[in-house]
């Protein structure tokens, strides 16, 4: 039997002793799921997200990504996982301000060791898919928030990852633009079978997902269809 894409068991995270941010979190996420993680600010949802994205490490418990125990991996092996398996979409877009849009999108391929020609070709293809083909040579600050987030999605997709982690992706956008971004995620999930984990505190954004995990005070309060 194939192991689930994500398997978390007894996960906990402490920044200070006796002050758990996460405690005893256990769940599985299968390939192709579209999961929303909801919670108030300070609930621990972002910390959970960072651990799932291999950006942070848990204090206790286990996190298996594609059956691999992430606790046993060193910094470079985790970097490799992030590069090959995971695409990030952040609330604040997190594009490099000095680089062109095309260079931003191609950057993950640089760390995958791809040639300049291949980086450019794939970046152009991804930029076209998010509908911004004519903006390739611009800088991020010359684009609107919605456009920047689409560039960030293009960057997340350029390495053809199995998992997209989106942390409040619509938080800095107006409602209509947020809806457009969510539609892109839905298409990616339904048409391309990419697993999507979305962290949000807005119920109507979480409603796009097919599974909703509520986090309250570092624990899972509910896990169901929305």
């Amino acid at each position: 039997m194939k192991s689930p894409l994500i398997s978390v068991s007894g996960l906990s995270k402490y920044y200070l002793e006796n002050m758990p941010v996460l405690k005893d979190v256990t769940f599985n996420i299968e390939r192709g799921e579209f999961v929303a993680i909801m919670g108030h600010s300070g609930s621990g949802k972002s910390t959970l997200m960072n651990i799932l994205g291999c950006l942070d490490t848990a204090t206790g418990g286990h996190y298996y990504l594609e059956g691999k125990d992430t606790a046993a991996l060193n910094a470079d092996e985790l970097a490799l996982l992030r590069n090959r398996l995971i695409g990030f979409v952040f609330q604040g877009f997190n594009l490099l301000p000095r680089s062109s849009i095309l260079d931003n999108i191609g950057l993950p391929l640089l760390y995958a060791g791809k040639s300049k020609a291949e980086r450019r070709e794939k970046a152009l293809f991804m930029l076209d898919r998010v509908g911004l083909a004519e903006f390739g040579e611009r800088r991020p600050n010359q684009l609107s928030g919605g456009q920047q987030q689409r560039v960030a999605i293009a960057r997340a997709l350029v390495t053809t990852p199995k998992l997209i982690l989106a942390d409040e992706p619509t938080g800095n956008l107006d409602t209509q633009t947020g809806e457009d971004i969510m539609k892109i995620f839905q298409v990616l999930n339904e048409k391309h079978n990419i697993t999507i984990i979305l962290v949000t505190h807005e119920a109507d954004i979480a409603a796009h997902a097919r599974r909703l995990i509520r986090v309250v005070d570092g624990q899972i309060a509910s896990d169901q269809a929305p």
Binding site: G53, L55, G113, R155
Partner: protein, 407 residues
């Protein structure tokens, strides 16, 4: 990460903060410039000293006659005529000795047509050409027969030629020395300055017997002022000195405990001391200049630390999308080395230019060698790597989530 991309990232970072990059580079510019200029001055001085040493001749002794005491006043070397042509002959027969040139000299006025010039007239033997490693470039030297018959022939140094004859060829012309006519039979090659700054070309040579008997006259027949002695090799210098001392003590009948009436001076040792001093000076100049390289390096480290802090978030983003620690390390190391390399390049140009101007306005000899340029360049790159490494490692060791959260 691929080299081309590293260069691109470095270039973009350098351009993003043009003023800051230029100021950081300036440290390296002055450091490398100073090292190159100081090395050029030092090597120039060394070359000058070495040329003077070579012009003096190698493995040389000078034997001076002793001092006299008149009414309790000691008069200094050469005041008692104790050395003779026979002493010179005896020294030349020692096994360690290559050649010997006894010299009897004085200043005299030379006259040719309407020109006249006062110079040092040295009576010597044909061996002086060998001892001083000097050559005749026009005409010929006098021979032993000239010494035996005390002929009035004369070898002329370049400075005297210029002052008496101008552009005219003096060979075959007659000049008057203290009103005696002499035939100019040869012109000596130019030698330049001696170690103490004397013009070695401002002199003429005549057979020693002519000087003794006809020109200057002496109450002691066969007396010489000093004897130039050339040893066969540098290895036998000590034995030669000892041999000369023993020989002259025996010949002058000086008993145990009695003071010598002559002095043997090792000119090569003096020259080597001068060369050593110049070399020490050159090394010191280089060392002082390299302190400025060090300070330039600290400037790079300073700016790279600021840069890493400023770009913490960028580092976090890069790590999130898959940059490994060494990708980040190399990125910042490249940036530091690029700054130091660019600064060094400008520094090399500036250093060579200022060395050139220094020699133009100061008249000093400066020598810019490829090796000094490569050395300055190599040290600059090493400084870039050394001082860039700590900030780069600091960047690479950031935790992805902490870097990403940094505001």
């Amino acid at each position: 990460m691929i080299i081309g991309a590293l260069l691109g990232e470095g270039w973009a970072a350098m351009r993003a903060n043009r003023l800051r990059t230029s100021l950081t580079m300036l440290g390296m510019v002055f450091g490398v410039g100073a090292v190159i200029m100081m090395l050029a001055i030092g090597q120039g001085a060394q070359l000058m000293v070495n040329e003077s040493i070579a012009s003096m001749g190698s493995n040389l002794f000078i034997v001076l006659s002793g001092s006299t005491t008149a009414g309790g006043l000691r008069q200094g070397s050469g005041t008692v005529p104790t050395l003779t042509l026979d002493d010179a002959q005896a020294i030349s027969e020692l096994p360690e000795i290559a050649s010997v040139a006894p010299t009897f000299s004085n200043t005299a006025q030379l006259i040719y047509a309407a020109s006249n010039w006062s110079t040092l007239v040295s009576g010597t033997t044909p061996a002086f050409l060998d001892v001083r490693e000097w050559t005749v470039i026009s005409g010929e030297a006098f021979g032993d027969s000239d010494v035996r018959s005390a002929t009035r022939v004369l070898l002329m140094g370049q400075t005297v030629v210029r002052n008496l004859f101008g552009d005219e060829n003096p060979v075959g012309k007659m000049v008057r020395v203290k009103n005696s006519p002499f035939l100019v039979i040869g012109i000596l090659a130019p030698k330049g300055q001696s170690l103490d700054g004397r013009d070695q070309d401002d002199t003429v040579f005549i057979p020693i017997t002519t000087a003794q008997r006809q020109l200057f006259g002496t109450q002691f027949p066969g007396m010489v002022r000093f004897i130039m002695v050339k040893a066969k090799s540098a290895e036998v210098m000590d034995r030669a000195e000892q041999g000369i001392n023993e020989l002259l003590r025996t010949r002058h009948r000086i008993h145990e405990g009695q003071e010598d009436d002559f002095t043997v001076r090792n000119l090569t040792a003096v020259a080597q001391a001068a060369a050593g001093t110049t070399k020490a000076m050159a090394t010191m100049l280089g060392a002082i200049a390299s302190v400025s390289l060090l300070i330039g390096g600290i400037g790079i480290m300073n700016i790279m630390l600021v840069s890493v802090t400023e770009r913490t978030r960028e580092i976090g983003i890069r790590m999130a999308i898959g940059a490994r620690q060494r990708d980040i390390l190399l990125q910042f190391l490249f940036e530091a080395v690029m700054i130091s390399l660019a600064g060094s390049l400008i520094g090399v140009v500036l250093g060579i230019a200022s060395a050139y101007f220094f020699s133009r306005f100061n008249g000093a000899l400066v020598v810019v060698t490829l090796s000094s340029v490569l050395l300055a360049f190599g040290v600059a790159v090493a400084v870039g790597v050394f001082f860039g490494f700590y900030p780069a490692r600091k960047a690479a060791n950031l935790k992805p989530i902490e870097a990403l959260r940094f505001q």
